[in-house]
Amino acid sequence: MGNDFVVPAIVAVTLVTVGIGFYGLRLARTTSDFLVASRAISPTWNAAAIGGEYLSAASFLGIAGLVLKYGVDVLWYPVGFAAGYLALLLFVAAPLRRSGAFTLPDFCELRLGSRRLRILATAFVIFIGWLYLVPQLQGAGLTLATVAGSPYPLGALLVATVVTANVALGGMRAITFVQAFQYWLKLTALAVPVIFLALQWQADGRPAVTPPDGPTFRAATTVVVEHRATLTLPDGDIQEVRPGDELTFAAGDPVPEVSGVATDASDWLLPSAAGNDDRGLFATYSLILATFLGTMGLPHVLVRFYTNPDGAAARRTTLVVLALVGVFYLLPTLYGVLGRIYTPQLLVSGQTDAVVVLLPGAALGDGTRGRLLAALVSAGAFAAFLSTSSGLLTSVAGVISTDVLGRGSVRGFRFATVIAGAVPTVLALHVSGLDVSQVVGLAFAVAASSFCPLLVLGIWWRGLTDVGAAAGVVVGGGAAIGAVLVTVLGPPLSGWPATLTSQPAAWTVPLAFTVMVAVSVATRRRAPADVAATMLRLHTPEALRL
């Protein structure tokens, strides 16, 4: 690679993150400071912080990679990631803030008064948090390996160490400033290069994204294969490639068809049609359901709502977040589209997640401008890993320190942070080859099938009982977790079983709701006696409280 700006840019982002964390450290004094930043954070800061925390490796790198590989069908990822905030706004934001719950386990206890349900919720928070942390650390390892040629474990260890130390020492007040800064950095890191890329595309005579003869290499390229695949060469030959294989293409050569990739222009350009592809339609709806309903069940998202002063502020903050992430999600698609023109070799090597960091260099050349922009994008990618992992780690450590260790002290929180950070680091070092966006998608599916029904029914339906809630979470969430484990660890599947396990939300979410309602109705005598008081608290404006 040899881009001498990348490493300084990544070091700068890391130092600024630590620096702001240290600045916050001087402000953090008590346990309440650590956990909820004393609720003294303005809505704009809070919204930028929520956005900064939310836009993870999957958003920054993954979406562009998926668009490059699969085309229009995966645009539902960014739409769903943004729409998740609308669902959160409509059904959860204000009542959750008014409930006074700080974490999901808190909400279970407040609403249903059950210790056992609280323990169950704690287990799910930790599972979802870790499931979401592993791909962040992997993304860091892969990015550093791609742009700086370092060994894979270095990037993962670097991010894990910085984040663990920062969360353990600074707590959430520090994190708020860090996250808000990182939202704006991520937006800049994608928005500025895209302007130059668009100008370059104009200057190159607007090459077609989907040329009639399929994508071609613009320059002589040597591809090192990263993932096993079957290539169909233009002369009809079929070639099996394995990781490590090197292939050489001359300028103007057509890109071979790669198994599992939408190489054909119309597959990529047009939505999957009915009749020939019912599974595609099912997978699309499943993805929509998981992302729309999963956001509200992500542990690091909900913690933020407690930092709003009241329910109305929580609503307004959510609306600002929706606007901020909506603006951001306009950008990754453009990288995926331009990647079809400038970096088709990634389709062959299988490293499509790297398109965002490689595109500026590939399109603009090795001049100073190209290298500076590549460095900016790498810095943004690191901001994405750092901020999302910080948020996840804060919330996982929060539930471990209060629910597992049973201590609310600052020391307990620090100890919990180290545990919470160590487990996903070890996993990330030993599990590789997982697709960043796919794992994140599975985390959304688990959240949508466990916490979404719990929150929605808990907030709007008086009839929910503790037994019903637990049954719904165990059956729905358990089915989603089973699907995750089969997808990640199980044998390769094909046909309907593959679709049902890799995109489980369309059957696990309705299952969770049905079980939760049915069991609650069957055990209706167990409905809490104080449900009327809880409803009053959740739904009436704070000004009327006595």
């Binding site: 339609l281 603006v327 739904h539």
Partner: protein, 115 residues
């Protein structure tokens, strides 16, 4: 005049107390608010379910729609990649306004018990 105001204040106080003590009147007021907010949230979700959720189905049954281009870009790319975000923000904005209005109505009802 002064006595009038005092009497109104006392009534408002009583309604607040009814809320807090969960008398039947207070209970009915809260139920009404919850129902209004839920109906609002469900109505706006329906807008999104039809507006966005209908798209995959529409593209599937009318493939020619996918080939339609606007300014050189295929329609599904424009709808999903660009137009969906302002649409979501507009729905969210409408929700915040209408939900706050519901709460204002509820507050007025509690503080002016004669109505």
């Amino acid at each position: 005049m002064l006595a009038e105001i005092t009497r109104q204040d006392t009534r408002a106080e009583r309604t607040r107390a009814e809320l807090a003590q969960q008398t039947q009147v207070g209970e009915a007021l809260v139920r009404g608010l919850v129902r209004a907010q839920l109906a609002l949230a469900l109505r706006l979700s329906l807008v999104v379910v039809i507006g966005l959720g209908g798209l995959p189905w529409l593209f599937a049954i009318a493939p020619s729609l996918g080939r339609t281009t606007v300014a050189g870009v295929n329609l599904p790319w424009l709808l999903l990649g660009v137009a969906s975000f302002p649409f979501l923000i507009a729905v969210g904005w409408a929700y915040v306004r209408l939900a706050e209005r519901n709460e204002q109505d509820f507050t007025d009802l509690v503080q002016r018990p004669e109505r």
